[in-house]
């Protein structure tokens, strides 16, 4: 059964890759694009660019992140939790940053930050879990079983330059997001690199090599037809392979930057270690929790945004010290924004469109798109002005030098932020 599924769902990309291998493509120039796809991917991999995707879990209130401070409707809808005009860190005459985002205001002034306004998708879903799934699969109309990043990695794996297909991406979280589900590739998840090592009885340390050898042999030959067993087998092998490689990298990392305490800081430091260590991964992902502010939003969001700004400031400096800041693009998004009007608890309920932030020395900073109207609403929520797949397409096409049609299934316009 599993075999049939694989056969029937073979992608055009796989099919063409097969033709290249057989030398048949010369006679079947289907659309020209495929013939140089491999070379194009090789070039992109060689350029050494990568992306980090940070997911703000819970639904960050976009309206209190990029604040429409000159709009009376904003203050009318939020008597308790609106940010005072004088506190807003102004971008232009209409919008500005939350006061906890001073680092982001600085990034913006340095032209390293793109603020993309009003990002969402048609018929917005207000369930955390379905909306996360839509953002991660980039398939709003079906329950997809691969992620947008996973499809990009599958696409990459046809390239000769992507010699180690299993370290094309690293998830720096305990749980693998659906965005990284791929057909051909297992992405390792590593949240604590120091604990990520195959240990043995400390009394018999010398036995570690023998055990690892036995482990490798057993796992390589663990012939079993159950898909679940095979999945466990692949993950176990990948765990040990990734562990050896990552621990070496981390040891070699040098920086004078102090990251803020906490999970976000240590995760970002680990990403910087991997990037500067030359691991060659194209994609890193991590999540930042706590944005579901149905109550007491002001305090919670201030502390979260402040942590985000300080941690990313450290990350950018670390990358700069290691001369790789121009190779990294950071995308920050949340599964949805929040209702325009506040609720009874000094918070906001689930909403729709919100800004995406894109950060990096190689990013063309600025304000993109149009702020959604605060008065022409859909059931109290913003109407999105930019489809989130436009942001993905821009990153895939322009930053990663790949073909977003292969990742998103159709063509989306590109923005100018990179």
């Amino acid at each position: 059964m599993a075999k049939n599924q694989n056969t029937s769902s073979i992608s055009r990309r796989d099919f063409l890759a097969g033709l290249v291998a057989l030398g048949l493509l010369g006679r079947y120039q289907l659309d020209g694009m495929a013939a140089n796809a491999s070379a194009q991917v090789d070039a992109a991999v060689a350029a050494g660019r990568s992306i980090l995707v940070i997911q703000l879990n819970g639904g960050n209130d976009g309206i209190n992140t990029i604040i429409p401070y000159s709009n009376g409707a904003y203050y009318d809808a939020r008597p308790k939790i609106a940010i005072k005009q004088t506190d807003v860190l102004k971008i232009d005459d209409h919008v500005g940053f939350h006061p906890a985002l001073s680092e982001f205001a600085q990034f913006y002034n340095d032209r390293q930050l793109a603020v993309i306004q009003g990002v969402g998708y048609p018929e917005p879903n207000r369930s955390h879990f379905r909306s996360i799934e839509i953002w991660q699969t980039a398939q709003p109309d079906i329950i997809g079983d691969t992620g947008w990043l996973g499809r990009y990695l599958d696409y990459l794996s046809i390239s000769a330059a992507a010699a180690n297909p299993n370290m094309l991406a690293v998830n720096v979280d305990p749980l693998l997001p659906k965005s990284l589900l791929a057909r051909k590739i297992v992405v390792p998840s590593v949240s604590d690199v120091q604990a990520f090592r195959f240990k043995v009885d400390p009394l018999y340390k010398a036995d570690r090599a023998l055990q690892l050898q036995a482990f490798g042999d057993i796992y390589n030959d663990f012939d079993d037809r159950r898909p679940i067993v095979d999945k466990l087998r692949k993950s176990g092998l990948e765990a040990n392979r990734a562990s050896e490689k990552l621990l070496d990298l981390v040891k070699g990392h040098k920086t004078t930057v102090k990251y803020p305490d906490g999970k976000l800081g240590s995760s970002l430091k680990f990403v910087a270690q991997m990037v500067s260590g030359g691991i060659g991964a194209k994609v890193y992902t991590l999540g930042y929790d706590g944005f579901d502010t149905h109550a007491g939003e002001l305090r919670t969001q201030t502390s979260l945004l402040s942590g985000l700004g300080k941690s990313l400031r450290a990350f950018q400096e670390d990358l700069k010290q290691n001369n790789c800041d121009d190779k990294m693009l950071v995308l920050i998004f949340s599964e949805f924004g929040r209702r325009v009007a506040e609720n009874g608890g000094g918070g906001t309920d689930h909403g729709t469109a919100a800004p995406c932030l894109v950060l990096g020395s190689g990013v063309k900073g600025g304000l993109y798109g149009e702020y959604p109207s605060l008065t022409s609403l859909d059931h109290g929520d913003l109407n999105h002005t930019i489809d989130f797949r436009t942001v993905y397409a821009t990153i895939v096409d322009r930053w990663l030098g790949a073909d977003s049609r292969e990742v998103l299934g159709k063509t989306f316009e590109n923005l100018d932020f990179c």
Partner: protein, 457 residues
């Protein structure tokens, strides 16, 4: 409902090898692994009686556990103590399914102390779940709607007449009863109105009538001056709720992707039994599909199952504060599920770092000394007690103990090779002895616990 004759034939005659395996499968899935003493009573009765014993926990005496818990004098306002308290219950209970169902409901009505910030409220919620775990779903749903930890967790404290807060109303439909796609955004808004004023005080639930909206609400096609009680009744009666609960129970106890017919059968039991959860469980465990090959060793063990099961297998009755911490590193932090959706379970337990945590837990548990922990177990003693004298016998014994013999011949051969080498990697033609045997047996068990099939129930 499957007929009795059918289920018996799927399991095989009493005392056959197949029957024994079916009983082990049942006790494993309905609990957290077993010691030989724990398994014994189930092998002395019929399969049907074993199901009845597991699904009617109140008929099984549990006073030994209760006495032990009193002796531990846990502090229920301490976040580490409530975890250890629950792990104690999982390890020492005589009613394994009672604890397993409490864990199921903890993942279903997922509430986390990182937001509630009251271990005592979490403890109270856990007791409520245990008490109502096998009864009428309506009762549990109502109790959860009034549960202080839940009210704090999903912000119902802030759900007020003039400005409703939708958090609870949405999740009660999306995650606790019907599932997504069975209600509209308008139902969320109207449902929130019905739960306005359902608040908590330090002394517990209270109904704040001044904050309750007693206007007419239109909810799932009906109109009336609904209160939260009415919403609970309406939701528990939905067809979608029966299916949603059936699917979730089957994913937890039987198959990660249960076939349609199985979901239909168990959903039908929900409605026929007036929403009785115990009846659904009985039907699941008695069904031929549960006893089938596809079901056996098909579910990835949760960290709870992995850890508690290992402790039981080696009879290591040491539940220190390290145990919940290790489970958290494997992805299951008790009283702190990652979100209101609980733990996704199944294949989502598998990731590189959580696999490594499992491997290292295995190394730790079977090490003579590990970090600052005392000696945990003595495999050489087990081997002596079992009278194991050859390399083959030894490998087969531990493969049977740990993975029920579920490993390919290549793995068995490689383990035999490992066991018959000395510390310098030189081949021996017999079982090593002394210190080498001790080291090799610990390594052997560690390797078996890293097998893909040891991760499965």
């Amino acid at each position: 409902m499957p007929s009795k004759a059918k289920s018996t034939s799927a399991i095989g005659g009493k005392k056959s090898r197949r029957w024994h395996r079916a009983v082990r499968h049942l006790v494993t899935r309905a609990g957290f692994g077993f010691t030989p003493e724990e398994l014994a009573p189930y092998t002395e009765i019929s399969y049907g009686d074993a199901v009845a014993r597991l699904t009617s926990p109140s008929t099984v005496d549990n006073s030994a556990l209760e006495k032990m818990l009193v002796e531990q004098s846990f502090d229920f306002t301490n976040p580490d103590d409530i975890k250890r308290w629950w792990l104690f219950r999982m390890v020492f209970t005589a009613r394994p399914l009672e604890e397993k169902m409490t864990l199921f409901w903890h993942g279903h009505f997922a509430t986390a102390d990182y937001r509630v910030r009251s271990p005592y409220a979490m403890y109270v919620q856990n007791c409520t779940m245990r008490k109502l775990a096998f009864g009428r779903f309506d009762d549990l749903l109502l109790a959860m709607s009034k549960d202080p930890a839940m009210i704090i967790w999903l912000d119902n404290q802030q759900n007020r007449k003039k400005k409703p807060n939708e958090n609870y109303a949405r999740e009660v439909m999306e995650l606790f009863t019907m599932g997504i796609g069975n209600y509209s955004e308008q139902d969320v808004k109207e449902g929130a109105r019905a739960f306005t004023g359902w608040q908590t005080k330090p002394s517990g639930y209270f109904f704040n009538s001044g904050q309750h909206d007693d206007g007419v609400k239109t909810f799932l096609g009906r109109s009336g001056n609904f209160n939260g009680d009415d919403i609970v009744t309406i939701l528990a009666n939905q067809k979608a709720t029966g299916r949603y609960l059936a699917h979730k129970l089957l994913r937890f106890f039987a198959l990660e992707n249960p076939p349609e017919f199985f979901v239909d059968d168990i959903a039908a039991v929900y409605h026929k039994s007036d929403h009785n959860i115990g009846a659904m469980l009985k039907a699941i465990f008695s069904s031929p599909a549960f006893a089938s090959e596809q079901c056996y060793h098909s579910l990835v063990k949760s960290p709870c199952e992995y850890v508690i099961g290992t402790l039981k297998t080696f009879q290591i009755f040491k539940v220190d504060a390290e145990v919940p911490r290790l489970m958290a590193a494997m992805g299951q932090n008790l009283f702190n599920p990652p979100s209101v959706k609980g733990w996704d379970g199944g294949q989502s337990w598998i990731a590189s770092d959580t696999m490594m945590e499992r491997f290292n837990f295995a190394a730790r548990i079977i090490s003579q000394k590990f970090d600052y922990l005392e000696k945990y177990s003595s495999p050489a003693q087990i081997a002596a007690e079992q009278g194991l004298t050859t390399v083959d016998e030894t490998v087969d014994y531990f493969l049977s103990l740990l993975v029920d013999g579920d490993a390919p011949t290549s793995a068995r051969a490689r383990l035999i090779e490992y066991l018959s080498t000395d510390m310098d990697g030189k081949k021996l033609d017999h079982l090593p002895d002394g210190k080498v045997l001790d080291a090799r047996l610990r390594g052997l068990i560690h390797l078996i616990m890293t097998l893909p099939t040891y991760q499965l129930n």
